[in-house]
Symmetry: C2
Subunit: 124 residues, 2 copies
Amino acid sequence: MIDHTHKVRIVEAYIAAFDKGDPSAAAELFAENAVVEDPVGTPVHHGKDAIRAFYANSMKTGAKLSLDAPVRGGANYAAFCFTVTLNYAGGDKRIEVIDTFAFDEAGKVTEMRAFWGPENMHGF
Amino acid sequence: MIDHTHKVRIVEAYIAAFDKGDPSAAAELFAENAVVEDPVGTPVHHGKDAIRAFYANSMKTGAKLSLDAPVRGGANYAAFCFTVTLNYAGGDKRIEVIDTFAFDEAGKVTEMRAFWGPENMHGF
């Protein structure tokens, strides 16, 4: 069982990777065969290389993440509620998101799912 | 595709069911063969009868739910971040939770997963 302190540390490292604009730092949190589904219902990015490329693209928007509430745990899962701010087409935008992470026994993220839809996008 | 207004209405009806202490009102939001996994990593409650019994038990604690942030969408999903307050063993307790709902095309919830662990329980 992955302890809560580790989960929180990984979420903080994920947020810090966006702060630094460092897609490799984000990808390093994932297991080799991890899947990222962002937003839910869209095709997954499978494997660390695809995940790194996905984050490289996301970070081009200058997206920064801030937690709205404490990280939730449960078994080998974490879920966290946050707001993304970005500057796009000359204006400040905001997206409300909840991510879930599943962890393997080594503490790497094996699955990330991001819950957000058009109604969570503000200022676009 | 289930629209966001419907998702928010279902989340509000779910919260209202707790306010009223009405397990049938909560169970009615689910499809016949729905599964509830609360918290994640524990055996699921499968089918509307099992789900009603689960909520009857939960509501005995007098648990009330309040949203911490706006409901997140994405495809046929909703995710929401909330705090449960309850009075147990003579004291006020608080649990931080994130729930995810998957919807079928009729707008019923087919899967609920609740993310929370021991570190999200306060005052126990």
